[in-house]
């Protein structure tokens, strides 16, 4: 699957100029990341034809816009989930879903599957104004899926939700792409959402009133560079890929995840029953990782991994960010510069990473 973008959008406050082929080898989530106001939403709106642009847009073999013709939004096989859901206020939940169901090639079975998956069957008779933020967004996602798009656009779907609703919806979004065999373009300015959801990252940057894509690459490639834009953030994270051991290994409410040679333990509260596949993705905040020179046997910390320092970056805030190589993967640790000096940390040193918290993300 491939989305070809050659477009220019002129707005009074900035110009968006994008020349990029976006590929999906398999269905997955490509996250468009950038600061607020850098044109992320405008890019999505341009793709589905809600903004007047100059240039070309092509999805697979279908030309959506060229110099000769512009396909109107309703004839592009693309759907969009808006930030605040944008459910139709004059219709109840079921009628909102039917609005899109009636106009698409979706089957009744897919309809049932969709409302089951998003867990909204009990809401069907509700008025949309009686829904919580999280419920509203689930209905909005279902409504978009029911239009059977070839490409799903999501414009900061979690931005207006509280922490609880967010954590309630994230698992649905994580599975969406695989289950519906659907490429997704997802806009956010939240690093946590990037870490939780992204397969690929598209970095959008605005300089001197000109917004452009500066990088489009797999998330892991971007994270490998210690100077990546996520690392400037207090929530800077690293991602580890591992394999979860089958049920027999479960002890005292813990799950064992194996990296190449070493192991991590997860509390089972965040293991989802639908994780049928054995491979898992773990999200570790840099600030949850401390460093010691020896393997502390008298610590309550469960996860201690052995690794090698590959890069140290000093930050103006009095911290330093340290990249460790662990079983051929990278873990980030953020500690105070003082501690780093006290331990005399140097590139190439062999150390132990003590990990306070691990979250399962995908």
């Amino acid at each position: 699957m491939k989305l070809t973008l050659n477009l220019k959008l002129n707005k009074p406050s900035f110009q968006l100029s994008v020349h990029q082929d976006i590929h999906w080898d398999k269905p997955g989530i490509h996250v468009i990341f950038g600061e607020s106001g850098c044109g992320k939403s405008h890019l999505l709106r341009s793709i589905c034809g809600l903004e007047k642009i100059d240039g070309q847009i092509q999805f697979n073999d279908t030309v959506w816009q060229s110099a000769k013709k512009i396909t109107p939004t309703h004839k592009r096989n693309v759907s969009m989930v808006f930030q605040d859901g944008q459910l139709f206020a004059h219709l109840n939940v079921l009628e909102n879903l039917n609005f899109s169901f009636k106009r698409s090639s979706c089957t009744k079975d897919e309809f049932d599957l969709c409302i089951n998956q998003l867990n909204i069957q009990h809401l069907l008779k509700h008025e949309v104004n009686d829904l919580s933020g999280g419920e509203r967004q689930r209905v909005a996602i279902a409504r978009s899926l029911l239009s059977k798009p070839d490409l799903l656009l999501m414009d900061e779907p979690l931005a207006s939700l509280d922490w609880k609703s967010k954590s309630e919806i994230l698992p649905f979004i994580q599975r969406l792409s695989q289950v519906w065999n659907l490429p997704i373009l997802y806009v956010t300015h939240s690093i946590d959402e990037v870490m939780e959801l992204a397969d690929h990252v598209i970095l959008l940057e605005k300089k001197n009133g000109m917004a452009q894509i500066v990088r489009c690459a797999p998330l892991m490639d971007i994270l490998a560079d210690i100077n990546n834009p996520f690392n400037q953030h207090p929530n800077a994270s690293s991602i580890l890929l591992g394999n979860i051991k089958h049920e027999g290994y479960q002890q005292d409410g813990l799950h064992k995840v194996s990296l190449a040679e070493q192991f991590l333990y997860l509390t089972n509260t965040n293991i989802h029953s639908t994780h049928s596949s054995q491979s898992v993705r773990l999200n570790i905040h840099a600030s949850d990782v401390s460093i010691s020179l020896s393997h502390a046997m008298d610590s309550s910390i469960l996860n201690i991994l052995h690794g090698k320092i590959i890069e140290i970056k000093h930050e103006p805030s009095g911290h330093c960010l340290i990249q460790l190589e662990v079983d051929n993967q990278i873990i980030l640790s953020r500690i105070s510069t003082y501690s780093a000096q006290r331990l005399n940390l140097k590139v190439g040193m062999s150390v132990f990473a003590q990990i306070k918290a691990v979250a399962l993300s995908k």
Partner: protein, 232 residues
């Protein structure tokens, strides 16, 4: 009583025509930027401030044998559209246009462009989305617009006097009939017609306000679109 029926017929037909032609005008004014927009808005609002006799005078000329109205009337062998029911309908539509366009325009502005865009991402064409999303959302605005248009046409006097004259069963509407009753010292007939018009107008305005306060206090706060009552 013939004058009353004639008035209701005139108001009903004018309101229907007004709702149809005001919908695209109000949508364009609410959501499109184009050259000459202010000019068109001012033109539509003109009947709000112009003395009805001035409007009536120009309409008389336009509808008369030497104006475009005379040409149109010639298509079916008449000499003029003035002093005819058709002429009254045309006059009423122009006279009441701002009372219908403005509530619809504020209603469409309140709804915004987004619901139609959302509908488009769900495979609904413009017409489809307008019919199934915008019209239902704008229902309060349509009720306000229809009531105002109807009530305002009921109360019309100056324009009718200028272009319609006072032909029973053709152009003699209630307001003219009342005037004539008073002129001929027939106060009891003037009383009954005036009373009916008073009650009718009051009832309709009361309905608008109830409709408005409902959508303000009701649970559909975010979709209050009965805009334009500010005209009152």
């Amino acid at each position: 009583m013939d004058s009353l029926l004639l008035t209701l017929k005139l108001a009903f037909i004018s309101t229907c025509i007004l709702l149809i032609i005001s919908t695209p005008i109000a949508w364009l004014l609410a959501h499109k930027q184009f050259r000459g927009k202010a000019f068109i808005e001012a033109l539509i609002a003109l009947p709000l401030v112009l003395p009805p006799t001035v409007l009536g005078f120009y309409l008389l000329i336009a509808l008369g044998p030497d104006g475009p109205g005379g040409w149109v009337a010639g298509l079916w062998g008449d000499r003029t559209l003035a002093f005819s029911f058709t002429g009254l309908v045309i006059g009423s539509v122009i006279y009441s246009l701002p009372f219908v366009v403005q509530p619809l325009q504020s209603g469409f502005i309140l709804i915004g462009a987004q619901p139609l865009q959302v509908a488009a991402t769900l495979r609904a064409s413009f017409i489809d989305g307008f019919k199934h999303v915008i019209l239902p959302l704008a229902k309060p605005a349509y009720i306000t617009a229809a009531t105002l248009g109807f009530a305002h046409t009921l109360g019309e006097f100056g324009v009718v006097l200028m272009i319609g004259g006072n032909i029973p069963n053709e152009t003699q509407v209630v307001s003219i009939a009342i005037f004539e009753h008073v002129e001929t010292m027939n106060y009891s007939s003037a009383h009954s017609l005036s009373g009916i018009l008073l009650i009718l107008s009051f009832t309709m305005l009361a309905m608008i306000y109830r409709n408005r306060s409902r959508s303000l206090n009701g649970k559909h706060k975010s979709t209050n679109t009965s805009g334009g009552s500010g005209l009152l």
